[in-house]
């Protein structure tokens, strides 16, 4: 049931046939785990809190640095030195006091992540390194939890949706089987804020669509974003039967 305040707050959702009261109630019941509170996690968490996702769990181990402020729009100058998850939690509650936000101020080891997944309906991978991405993918495959992956660097972005609640879903490891760290990341290659912002915002969009029951256009697909041309390419990701993570090995 939605309160009178909620009916007002979410009126722009309730007007949409694709959301309505049923959709808003589904958002209220939803549990989303967002891993990484940087350039992707900033807009993703802001939009999900604003939309009324009832339970958000935020995970990151970083403190806010001045170089984050160029693109991580949750943070302001006087937050420097504070924990990203604590500051984000506070701001999300200020945006939307109706939702519950829990923070995990550390790098989760695999066992803790697996435990968290028993309570999560959906995971957003908003991390910044290959080791974390592979670990999250593997844990979501094993726990059968849907995973929306975002990534960005320079003027390029990548977006994927693997619905691991379906056994025939492909996985991140089918696409990128290398666990070794890439040499390119935001700290050594740079990034334009709205590029990573666009990808994080679209992760939030796909999450909202998932809970209100709108089909995703990008399940088992990779979207490549070229921020120079604003062109998008779309690729189908077939399940690799020999995948050591999701295959019948």
């Amino acid at each position: 049931m939605l309160s009178d305040d909620e009916l007002l707050r979410y009126s722009r959702h309730l007007l949409l046939e694709d959301v309505g009261k049923t959709g808003q109630e589904a958002l209220k019941k939803a549990n989303v785990l967002i891993i990484g509170m940087g350039g992707l996690g900033s807009p993703a968490s802001l939009y999900l809190a604003a939309a009324g996702i009832g339970h958000l769990v935020l995970s990151d181990f970083d403190n806010i640095e001045v170089s984050n402020l160029q693109r991580q729009i949750t943070y302001q100058s006087d937050d420097i030195g504070e924990s990203k998850v604590e500051v984000t939690k506070r701001k999300l509650q200020q945006i939307n006091p109706d939702i519950k936000v829990r923070s995990i101020n550390k790098a989760m080891p695999e066992e803790q992540l697996t435990m968290e997944l028993t309570m999560a309906d959906l995971v957003l991978d908003c991390t910044d390194n290959m080791a974390a991405r592979q670990m999250i993918n593997k844990a979501c495959v094993n726990a059968k939890v849907p995973l929306i992956v975002g990534a960005a660097i320079r003027l390029e972005g990548q977006l994927m949706f693997f619905d691991h609640s379906h056994a025939d879903s492909s996985c991140y490891h089918c696409l990128f089987p290398d666990s070794e760290e890439q040499t390119l990341n935001c700290s050594n290659s740079g990034i334009i804020g709205p590029v990573v912002g666009t990808i994080g915002t679209l992760q939030a969009l796909e999450a909202i669509k998932y809970f209100v029951g709108l089909p995703s256009g990008i399940k088992n697909k990779l979207k490549l974003f070229d921020g120079k041309s604003l062109d998008w390419q779309t690729f189908a990701i077939n399940k690799d039967p020999k995948c050591t993570v999701c295959g019948q090995h």
């Binding site: 990534a151 390029e156 935001c186 390419q233």
Partner: protein, 66 residues
């Protein structure tokens, strides 16, 4: 035969497979993904995927950043 790799024309021996293309292009395998006509080909199928005249190949790197 002629194929397109990231919108550039590449002249390649007939019946080449993806591994042979990557060797020819001298591109790193690590962190790379490859699509033939908008479909990603898993690493395990690179050796047995034969390319055809006119194929559109997309070759790109994993992005880890965020």
């Amino acid at each position: 035969m002629k194929i397109h790799v990231n919108e550039q024309i590449v002249e390649l021996a007939d019946n080449s497979n993806i591994e042979q293309l990557l060797t020819y292009l001298d591109k790193p395998l690590m962190g790379s993904a490859i699509a033939v006509n908008q479909e990603i080909i898993s690493r395990s199928h690179w050796a047995d995927t034969i390319l055809n005249e006119g194929d559109n190949i997309s070759l790109f790197q994993a992005i880890a950043g965020g």
